[in-house]
């Protein structure tokens, strides 16, 4: 069961089906999240852009193939397989900063832990599939953890104060 934090609260539910991750077959008509190559192929085949999301894994270093779809993509899920693997921070920063992606950016995987949430939010993530055992209130508290920051980043959910001038 997915526990999705979105808009600073636990979401009621989520209709997206992660192909290759979620168990069973997608419910009829459910919007699907595909791995990068499958997504690109599906778009090539003319599938409805509004019903397709993409699921990036850490080895998808080059996210530029998504650039042409940035305006129509509703959801990008970025995998954090462990708390030590920080490649997802770069993928998110590039999507938000370089490719102007404005849809939902979701962190997923065992690495989606409370103590990384603030960095994730700063890189532009706005929703989080919590890792197993992670308490919602602990996670939400981390979004308030820092009110200041040195770097200018996509942010969004959190908006730390920067030095001006």
């Amino acid at each position: 069961m997915r526990r999705l934090v979105k808009g600073r609260q636990l979401a009621d539910g989520d209709s997206w089906f992660y192909v290759g991750t979620d168990e069973g077959d997608p419910p009829a008509g459910a919007p699907r999240v595909l791995k990068l190559a499958d997504y690109l192929a599906a778009r090539e085949a003319g599938e409805d852009a509004t019903r397709l999301g993409v699921h990036l894994v850490p080895t998808d270093v080059d996210v530029s193939p998504l650039a042409p779809h940035a305006a129509t993509l509703p959801l990008v899920v970025i995998e954090f397989p462990s708390t030590g693997d920080g490649r997802g921070f770069t993928q998110a920063s590039l999507l938000r900063g370089r490719h102007r992606y404005r849809g939902e950016l979701r962190a997923h995987g065992k690495g989606v832990r409370a103590d990384l949430i603030f960095f994730m939010a700063r890189c532009g993530f706005d929703s989080f599939d919590l890792a197993e055992g992670e308490k919602v209130e602990t996670v939400l508290a981390q979004l308030e953890r820092f009110s200041v920051a040195y770097q200018t980043y996509p942010d969004g959910v959190v908006q730390p104060r920067h030095r001006t001038g």
Binding site: G84, T90, R113, V148, Q151
Partner: protein, 548 residues
Amino acid sequence: MYRYDDIDQTLVAERVAQFRDQTRRFLAGELSEDDFRPLRLRNGLYIQRFAPMLRISIPYGLLSTRQLRMLGHVARKYDRGYGHFTTRTNMQFNWPKLEDVPDILADLATVEMHSIQTSGNCIRNVTADHFAGIAPDEIEDPRPWCEIIRQWATLHPEFSYLPRKFKICVTGAPVDRAASETHDIGLHIRRGDDGDIGFEVLVGGGLGRMPILGKKIRDFLPWPELIRYLEAILRVYNQEGRRDNIHRARIKVLVKAKGVEAFRDEVEAEYLRIREERPPLGEAEIARMRAFFAPPPYETLPDVDVVTGAPAEFQAWYRHNTRTHKVTGYRAVVVSLKKHGEAPGDMSADQMERLADLADRWSSGEVRVTHDQNLVLGDVRQQDLHAVWMGLRELGLATPNIGTLTDMICCPGLDFCSLANASAIPIAKQIQDRFSDFDYLYDLGHIEIKMSGCMNACGHHHVGHIGILGVDKHGEEWYQITLGGSASGTSSLGEVLGPSVPKGEVANTIAKILDVYLERREEGEEFLHAVRRVGIEPFKERVYAAAR
């Protein structure tokens, strides 16, 4: 020096609150040991052989006397009355209690200090030349640039979970006094054709299991581009650095695997993209930073002869422990933390507090930490040198051995560190005991011994003129000797002399090496140059003669 504003102070306070919460969750069982480890490491907290070890950041080695007194307070209140300076110019405490650490960090925050990113796979403390701002040969003070890098690197949203640790060093003089070539990124300030400054950029240096010197990827990076270029390097590394093997995860492995040209091309391409997206550093920001490091108000003084007629002991101290200052009438004083019989780099709370008093009275109220584990009083009037010497001597901080054999770099080793394979401090003592005659040390001249208790090379043994590496052989401590390493001028990695020697034989082995040097040296030839000229063979023959 740099002073915190509201942004800096708030960030450090919020960091303390974060760690207090993380520690509470760990102690309450909400965070497992595995979950807590990367969090505590990013606050410099290790679980060591006997107790936790806390590493406190000293950005580019610069301390105000207020901060030094606070370190003394921490040593006294939370530890066993002393601390240890490291090759990253940080301070380590070996005996704090885990549950006290949030309070220690809160105390440190009151004097604009922290332990952020002193460990873990993130950007570590930025280091610089310990004579920054006062060296006669300096092109420009590197410290404003270090502070800009420090702030950029602190809690970086994208680069806080790198494949491995990442070390950056900035030098501002033609001579490298900060071992910059052993860093993941070495930045050398250079003056461009138009008179404006920029950076020579080296990448992929590092010691440890795969020692390698940094490779140049840029002759001259104009200063406004500094952060954009660093971001490009870090981004390529974060994306492509290996994460499958901790021993292959440093950027040096990536640079080697790709080849330096291909790596450089990738960085340059990413840098050009970043240029389209982010502004360069502004004139106002660097002007703001430079103002923090403006020179103290020096008096107009003549150079004074303080040596003639002075006691021989003072003369020796002056010759070995003081350095030329860029301002006439002043000198820089190296405070020796290498007193014979003491662990190199250790300092007691009492010494910290009283040295702070000396620095306030006789220097500019600042103390610098060197990467070879000594301290520097940067701005001493020549006419006050005798008084400073008396004060230091009283504290046991005037051992006239800077640059000599007993001015060793030494990691904590097996006595404290849970990573170590062998002890280091007892070996340092063995060497101090064996070579205690100062006339002999002075005759030997400039020799750098660097010693590590394991392959991680915190003691920089690869770049010691004489390097000593502790190894474990079937539960016994043995020591591998290397010769001819150097981290300044023409840097080089030492060559392994031969099979490792038993613990009791380290000083004897060094004695044989020194004998060969004394026999073979040419007029005025330093040890390192003699080794480079005659090669390692004569040393090898002497050391292993009996065994053949």
